[in-house]
Symmetry: C2
Subunit: 198 residues, 2 copies
DNA sequence: GTCTATACCCTGATAGAC
DNA sequence: GTCTATCAGGGTATAGAC
């Protein structure tokens, strides 16, 4: 398993192409050409195209911490800020794939869901850390899902209008919402005082 | 132009199939079979498949008031309630198409945007009617966009998780957000009093 | 405007030698 | 594990008589 063995080259090429052109518009031939691999080799590793997609989704999932969260959160302490650091940097690449596939086969669908869940978990963690600043009535998990909803919906609108500001506007609204919910970052001592006051 | 002329049958069949199976997974042959039309006739009316899609999108756009807004708003007076009546009933059929097409040609993209804009306009109208109940700082248009963002993002998540409750959860969060912004429905007299008080 | 037949291409996938 | 050559099928679109 060298850094550029055949299988890896295939998955990497597929990842890139699926991202750039979408799944349907990427042909096996495209992947072979980009990866500089021959047809026979691809089918040695993968039974078919959708298995290649599954491998790509696995790679996304496995890399989420190291490749996405860590760099986005470098130097960011406040958990709420972390959420928006994430939104500021990424437009969840999985989302485009998720809707492009109208009825994905089960292995693929599972992996899409697994990726979504990983994003929601990451945001949920942030909210958990900001727990004391959130009012009691807030369903944390649901709010975490809502962050992802905003991200996905924003991506879709931005793409259709060919204008990223639609994405930004969605994030701004979400920020407004969460700011309205959460108290400003404070030390736990101050928070406790506030809680007592209510 | 009878009610079931060839062209209409084609557009209607395409609309139905694009909705059920998606655009890519619907073949021309599928459309022909459903519409009970022959290949030659289709190409007499439409240069190609994407032109058929454009016609479908036009039909969606032209029907938005009569077929979507009117039935959803029957008996609903409060403008904020109208927004959620819409969300309660529809899952914006255009959204699925919008992301399925990774890079739609310009005529199609324009029509997708036009449809989105029509939805945003409808929601914007509601917000406009509820204007006095919204705080001054709210960017109305952006909030209207955000409603659509929630809708689209919710559709995507619900589909991936194969669970509509993800959509419902998004709507609930949005409701929570807007409730936090808007004052309760009141007569204009009371509203005026409140405004004076501030 | 409608019909049948069909061209033509690109797709995913396979065969089988090396 | 890798290579070349190739298949079978379905896709969009066309031809040309009626």
């Amino acid at each position: 398993m060298e850094p550029t063995d055949t299988r890896s080259r295939l998955v990497l090429a597929a990842m890139q192409l699926f991202w750039e052109k979408g799944y349907n518009s990427t042909s096996i031939a495209d992947v072979l050409q980009t990866a500089k691999v021959n047809s026979g080799s691809l089918y040695h590793f993968f039974p078919g195209k959708s298995d290649l997609l599954a491998a790509v989704l696995d790679m996304y999932h496995d890399g989420i911490r190291q490749m996405l969260l860590q760099p986005a959160w470098a130097g960011v302490k406040d958990p709420i800020d972390k959420i928006f650091a994430l939104l500021g940097r990424y437009r969840c690449p999985i989302g485009s794939l998720a809707l492009e596939l109208h009825e994905p086969d089960e292995p693929v669908r599972e992996r899409l869901a697994k990726n979504f869940r990983a994003w929601i978990d990451a945001i949920d963690d942030c909210l958990q850390q900001a727990k004391v600043r959130l009012p009691a009535g807030v369903t944390r998990r649901e709010l975490a899902q809502f962050v992802l909803t905003t991200m996905e919906g924003g991506v879709m609108q931005a793409r259709t209008f060919r204008d990223v500001s639609y994405f930004d506007a969605g994030v701004r609204q979400l920020h407004h919402y969460i700011n309205g919910l959460a108290r400003a970052p404070t030390t736990s001592a101050i928070v406790k005082k506030r809680q007592l006051r209510q």
